[in-house]
């Protein structure tokens, strides 16, 4: 079982790769809309990547209102 820190780290790495930003620039508390410069549909695309990576399925409503990496990680962690 992964720790929440590991899950968060993997999310940050995936987000950095997918949206071509430096991993070093991303922190768990960051607002991913602002930091990655993405809209709500691109956030859903990121979610699909994360689902494939972690082998979980997250309904859209689970991430409604979520905008920082740490909260996203807790939602994924709860389904691991």
């Amino acid at each position: 079982m992964k720790t929440i820190e590991q899950t968060t780290d993997e999310i940050l790495t995936l987000a950095a790769t997918h949206f071509q930003v430096s991993r070093a620039e991303l922190q768990p508390g960051d607002d991913f809309y602002k930091k990655l410069g993405i809209d709500s549909l691109q956030a859903l695309e990121l979610l699909t990547r994360l689902e494939n990576h972690f082998h979980v399925e997250l309904p859209d409503y689970e991430v409604q209102g979520v905008s920082d990496f740490h909260t996203l990680a807790t939602r994924i962690q709860a389904r691991l």
Partner: protein, 569 residues
């Protein structure tokens, strides 16, 4: 389609739809790649009868109000139909609002009944204001077997025993109360009558005719006027099929086009731009020779479809692209917010019949629509049948406020005669948008007269509504504006909100202050956030009741500060 002139209410028209096409499929529900259910009109009626009977048995009757907070799915439409059947007034709420906003609007609408999905109900129950709600009954869909429903009942068990009695309504009775925005103390509940909906449906259906077999992909939330019309009233009164997706993931939207051979789809600009981005990436990945060929074919298509769409020809010329859209797409409608002409042009060039328009909840959806004859992406089209448009107070360039008169215009804002009187003037709906009608009768838009923004997701945001979120920050006074209201620009895209700060004497904006503002900002849904702040060094002008004189303040700021004084957050 049904002859809507014969009907006095939405409920009566919908009831006849079920009788006319009993064996046609009216709803398909899919979740990702999995199809969950299909209902014929007969099955839809049987499911709705149970709910209507239970409403009747619970004492719900004509004029009573019932709210729905659900994502796009069959139970949304089944519940709505049951409410109309019972003579009720529907209050469709945006599922994307926060739980406290839901409670505010439920209280404002005085809804007695609520139909809600379990995850959304769970959030509402946890909100502070939950204890004050006045709902008589709540019906929760898809709750897990052992879930604590906090006094609510399961939607699936809400079944009456007797056949329900249809309750007729009159044309001028309110059918729906639709909130165009306003959760920060000034809710704008548009009261839309049965006549409004029947007139709008009769005006738009000839342009996008539904028949059995025609399929509409429902993506825009059904509480929104566009999807309520395009994804409920229009397909039902024409015997068509509505496809519901339980996700907005772009990859599943793309898949649904081909899997369900979609005929019509309405989108907001955000989704359209996402589709454009996906296509551009695919075009860029083509080998150079194929790309050159594609560009040439797009050029030919553009030249041959300038005067009018020729979908058959476009499908032959650009077969692969059209196959990716299912091969049977008759129209892609974009609305809810202003769409950049370049995006519309992109789709037109590849032969996708894209219709942009202009409308608002207060006018029951569409005011104008581009008929593509000829293609005019620089405009939002001509008035739909039955709609009169007038430009009030035009300047030297002919630009003034767009006013609208039609049988589709709302009867007023719920419990707000003052705002109603400001908005409905001598029978004309004052839209607050600035426009000009050109020689060919096309409407062009040039920004807003009112202090508000519309996001690419089609969300109306009034700055006053988010001020609560910044209450208590360490300043003498503050307020929020639409930046274009202070510094007018002839554009309706990329609109931003700006926080105006009047600091205490001797104070400066430091790191800790900005951190606190950012923290408050992050509590808002991402589309409601302010983009930056400006520091204003004078007292805000106020009236006798100490309310900020916003028009005066905006004028003063606009004269003394440039737009680049705005500091990004």
């Amino acid at each position: 389609m049904l002859d809507l002139a014969k009907y006095d209410s939405l409920g009566a028209a919908l009831r006849d739809s079920l009788a006319r096409w009993p064996d046609e499929v009216c709803l398909i529900e899919a979740d990702r790649e999995r199809e969950k259910s299909r209902l014929t009109y007969r099955q839809f009626g049987e499911a709705a009868d149970l709910v209507a009977a239970a409403l009747e048995e619970s004492g719900f009757g004509p004029g009573d109000r019932a709210a729905i907070i659900m994502t796009n799915q069959p139970k949304w439409l089944i519940s709505a139909y049951a409410v109309f059947f019972a003579g009720g007034v529907l209050v469709p709420l945006d599922y994307k609002l926060s739980a406290s906003e839901h409670l505010q609007l439920l209280a404002h609408s005085q809804a007695q009944i609520l139909f809600v999905e379990y995850p959304l109900w769970r959030a509402i129950v946890q909100a502070l204001a939950f204890r004050e709600h006045k709902l008589r009954k709540v019906f929760v869909t898809e709750a897990p077997p052992n879930a604590d429903l906090a006094g609510a009942q399961r939607w699936e068990e809400f079944c009456g025993a007797r056949a329900p009695e249809f309750r007729p309504r009159a044309l001028m009775d309110t059918a729906c109360i639709v909130y165009s925005s306003g959760t920060g103390g000034h809710p704008r509940g548009c009261m839309l009558t049965h006549e409004n909906y029947l007139e709008q449906c009769a005006a738009v259906s000839p342009i996008f005719p539904f028949r059995p077999g025609a399929r509409y992909l429902s993506i825009i939330p059904t509480n929104h006027a566009i999807d309520f019309m395009g994804g409920f009233v229009m397909p039902f009164t024409g015997g068509g099929t509505v496809v519901h997706l339980r996700t907005l993931r772009p990859e599943f939207i793309r898949e649904a086009f081909t899997k369900y051979k979609i005929t019509y789809m309405a989108v907001v600009p955000l989704i359209l731009k996402n589709l454009q981005r996906g296509l551009r990436e695919r075009f860029s990945a083509l080998p150079a020779a194929k790309r050159k060929m594609l560009d040439a074919l797009i050029g030919v298509n553009r030249a041959l479809t300038r005067a009018k769409p020729r979908p058959g020809l476009s499908r032959v010329l650009l077969k692969d692209i059209h196959n990716a859209f299912g091969g049977g797409l008759q129209a892609l409608l974009v609305g809810g917010a202003f769409t950049e002409p370049a995006t519309i042009e992109f789709f037109h060039n590849i032969g996708i019949p894209i219709y942009n328009g202009y409308g608002c909840t207060e006018a029951c959806t569409a005011i104008t629509l581009n008929d593509l004859r000829p293609f005019r992406p620089d405009t939002v089209g001509k008035p739909v049948p039955g709609m009169e448009i007038r430009i009030v107070g035009p300047d030297a360039d002919g630009i003034g406020e767009v006013a609208v008169r039609s049988k589709t215009v709302m009867s007023g804002y719920l419990d707000d005669p003052e705002m109603t009187a400001e908005t409905l003037v001598n029978g004309w709906l004052m839209t607050g948008d600035l426009g000009r009608v050109d020689a060919s009768g096309h409407l062009q838009l040039f920004g807003r007269k009112k202090n508000m923004i519309v996001t690419a997701e089609g969300k109306n945001i009034y700055p006053e509504d988010i001020e609560n979120n910044f209450e208590g920050i360490a300043v003498k006074e503050f307020c929020v504006y639409a930046a274009n209201y202070i510094w007018p620009q002839h554009t309706m895209t990329g609109e931003q909100l700006v926080l105006v700060l009047h600091l205490e004497p001797g104070h400066v904006v430091d790191g800790a202050f900005v951190k606190e503002v950012n923290r408050r900002n992050a509590q808002l849904q991402n589309y409601k956030r302010v983009s930056g702040y400006i520091v204003w060094e004078h007292d805000f002008p106020r009236n006798a009741a100490m309310k900020i004189r916003r028009v005066v303040l905006a004028g003063l700021i606009g004269k003394q500060l440039e737009r680049d004084a705005m500091v990004s957050l």
